[in-house]
């Protein structure tokens, strides 16, 4: 089995049974965040991608991975290095800026680019390319599932906090409009936190003073963890319902403690989902890595498994033919039930999940995200522009 390298630009080969043609091996390369603030998602991504290759090829093979250190400029450098070897498929990256940087390279080099993590709207919107196809969710889908939750809960007033950053301000504005246009809920107030701020005590107090009964928290990653820790110290969840697009998952809850219980959030996928493909993936992941897969692992596995099945079905490594076929592809064996690729924007239509952190069962994780609602694609994806 190929060793995973964090530096160097050589490509590993994937032994792939190919019925015809001169090329015997299908070459995959990936630029992901193995270190830096998003290293946790990149490690999951890599583990799951390796597993997808193994499960859909029958042999033990590694991929060639470059670490972009969670920085878009490094993504561009490492992506260019890997692209120079003309791989058959490029994977990555974790964040929207990094993914967009990689998309420019794969478009220039005409390399199929599978996006299994980056959720930013421009990826399949204004910055869409002919070679980049997204199998994971779009971020605005999270606004729609959140707005559906607001309707369900019948909040009188909600307060919102997000980063003081153009993309996140726009997302909050879009969410506000959705809530105001689809429910009776009013907006009690809003706060925008600088990206490097980790102290939210006064924002929390502003929200309490607003009289809101719901709090939309658009602060992902460790920032969201800091927020919920500080919220727990003043029992904020006793005063209003805390919820957000991706504010918490099982791992974050373990770092927050009991303050995470009852927090509601959207999620891309969860290991507890009750469908055969999901269970098969979870069992295989646990057997290989002795841990439960997180949502990033789930999405990385599902996207690559879909693509590899598509290559098998089409029966060629020809990039243009594969892309042409993928435009109308349906993935019936998705760990989320079913995904349908939409040709107009290269976005896979799929269900959306909403859940709440609860105490886990004995012998398992202490805190678990329990899925409480599933939204069909027609409810959460906007029509193609």
């Amino acid at each position: 089995m190929q060793k995973i390298r964090l530096a160097g630009a050589a490509l590993a080969v994937l032994a792939f049974a190919h019925p015809a043609g001169a090329q015997d091996a299908y070459r995959i390369a990936g630029v992901i965040s193995l270190t830096g603030p998003l290293g946790f998602s990149g490690i999951s991504f890599k583990k799951a991608s390796d597993l997808a290759i193994e499960m859909h090829n029958g042999g033990k093979v590694g991929g060639a991975w470059e670490d972009d250190e969670s920085k878009p400029q490094v993504t561009a450098q490492k992506g260019a290095k890997l692209a120079a070897g003309n791989p058959d498929l490029m994977l990555g990256s974790a964040t929207t800026p990094s993914t967009l940087a990689l998309m420019k390279i794969t478009e220039q080099r005409k390399i199929p680019h599978l996006i299994t993590l980056g959720g930013g709207d421009p990826i399949t919107g204004a910055a869409k390319t002919a070679y980049a196809w997204r199998t994971t969710i779009r971020l605005d889908m999270e606004n729609r599932t959140g707005a559906a939750y607001v309707r369900q809960m019948k909040f009188k007033k909600i307060y919102g906090v997000s980063f003081d950053y153009q993309v996140t301000r726009q997302r909050w504005d879009a969410f506000k409009q959705l809530v105001l246009s689809t429910s009776e809920t009013k907006i009690a107030g809003e706060s925008f936190s600088p990206v490097d701020n980790m102290d939210f005590s006064l924002i929390i107090e502003n929200a309490i003073r607003s009289g809101a009964d719901g709090f939309w928290i658009d602060l992902p990653g460790t920032v969201g963890t800091a927020f919920l820790k500080q919220a727990a110290q003043v029992n904020l969840k006793g005063k209003m319902k805390l919820f957000g697009p991706v504010v918490v998952d099982d791992e974050a809850a373990a770092a927050i403690g009991d303050g995470a219980l009852g927090v509601s959030t959207g999620t891309r996928w969860h290991w507890s989902l009750d469908n055969p493909e999901s269970k098969k993936f979870v069992e295989a992941f646990k057997k290989k890595y002795n841990e439960l897969p997180d949502q990033y692992a789930g999405e990385a596995y599902d996207g690559l498994a879909w693509w590899l099945a598509h290559v098998e079905k089409i029966g060629t490594f020809d990039k243009e033919k594969l892309l042409q076929g993928f435009a109308t592809s349906t993935w019936e064996k998705s760990i989320k039930g079913k995904k349908v690729m939409r040709a107009c924007d290269h976005q896979a239509l799929q269900v959306g999940y909403w859940g709440e952190i609860v105490a886990g069962a004995a012998g398992g994780p202490k805190y678990v995200l329990k899925i409480t609602a599933t939204f069909p694609p027609e409810d959460i994806f906007p029509p193609c522009q």
């Binding site: 830096g36 603030p37 290293g39 946790f40 490690i43 003081d164 706060s191 925008f192 936190s193 600088p194 490097d196 701020n197 980790m198 102290d199 939210f200 005590s201 006064l202 924002i203 107090e205 502003n206 309490i208 460790t222 963890t225 800091a226 820790k229 500080q230 727990a232 110290q233 003043v234 029992n235 791992e251 974050a252 373990a254 770092a255 927050i256 403690g257």
Partner: protein, 285 residues
């Protein structure tokens, strides 16, 4: 009321972290970029101590002591070789130490953030003049006051402090008087690093214990040292409280301008009093 409490708690946490850097930067002249990494290491050691003993209070003592020992070894092996060298070498060396400490933490504890909770009794809120404030923040303020008093008394009123200040002002003369200057420097570096770890333990219940926490605070620390004056404990306290209050006021009224306000203060001090707001002018002859 809550604005004052929150500002003071932010300031005290910053002081706990920056006082160590004040000692190291001010008294040894070493630009210790690894200070943030030691803060992070302190938080992780506290997490592990709590896992083993179940007690935050044991962690509050044990984690800094472990880092003091490690830092003494670091000073003996590496730091003392760059005292006489250009600052550039100190930056390179301490940056290398960051990478070593980061990898050590990652290999032992992994990439996922860890939970360090406030001790029982301090994990809830207290009603103060109509506002709910975190009991832990009140503890932080009191703890910071105690630490600052201890530092003040030791450095300004004790024989130990006199020796330290003597080595800082004129190490050659101190050596002539029989003081083991090398040992004093080792202790200053070790205790300064221990204070970084103490800051990490104190921060753990408020912020996620993760591998990026050190990067988030190191710039603020250097600002506190520069604003207060190098080697000046009172200055560190005042600088930290100033920055803490600016952040609190900014969060309440203009959160998008917190960074701008903080750096404006820093620039203002550099222009008006580059030696720091509280540094004393020294007699030259």
């Amino acid at each position: 009321m809550s604005l004052v409490v929150i500002g003071l708690s932010i300031g005290m946490l910053l002081f706990l972290l920056a006082v160590g850097l004040t000692l190291i930067f001010g008294m040894l002249g070493v630009i210790n970029f690894a200070h943030g990494a030691l803060y992070m290491l302190g938080a992780y050691l506290a997490y592990q101590t709590v896992q083993w003993t179940g007690s935050f209070w044991v962690a509050l003592v044990a984690a800094p002591l472990i880092v003091v020992a490690m830092a003494a070894a670091m000073e003996f092996v590496a730091i003392r070789r760059v005292y006489a060298r250009d600052h550039f070498y100190q930056v390179l060396l301490t940056f290398g130490l960051i990478l070593v400490i980061d990898e050590l933490v990652r290999s032992v504890w992994g990439l996922q953030a860890k939970l360090l909770s406030a001790p029982p009794g301090l994990g809830s809120s207290v009603s103060l003049l109509g506002s709910d404030v975190s009991a832990y923040r009140l503890f932080l303020i009191g703890f910071g006051v105690v630490v600052s008093l201890v530092f003040f008394l030791v450095l300004e009123r004790s024989k130990v402090g006199m020796v330290v200040r003597g080595c800082n002002h004129d190490s050659e003369m101190a050596a002539c008087l029989g003081i083991d200057v090398a040992k004093v420097r080792t202790w200053i570096f070790a205790i300064g690093s221990g204070m970084a770890a103490l800051g990490g333990v104190a921060a753990g219940p408020l912020y996620p214990v993760d591998t990026n926490m050190g990067f988030a605070v190191i710039i603020d620390c250097f600002m506190v040292v520069v604003i207060g004056g190098m080697g000046n404990i009172r200055g560190s306290l005042a600088g930290a409280l100033l920055i803490g209050m600016i952040r609190a006021v900014g969060q309440r009224y203009v959160p998008e301008l917190i960074g701008v306000l903080t750096y404006l203060l820093f620039i203002g001090v550099l222009l008006a009093a580059p030696q720091g707001l509280f540094s004393r002018r020294m007699r030259q002859a």
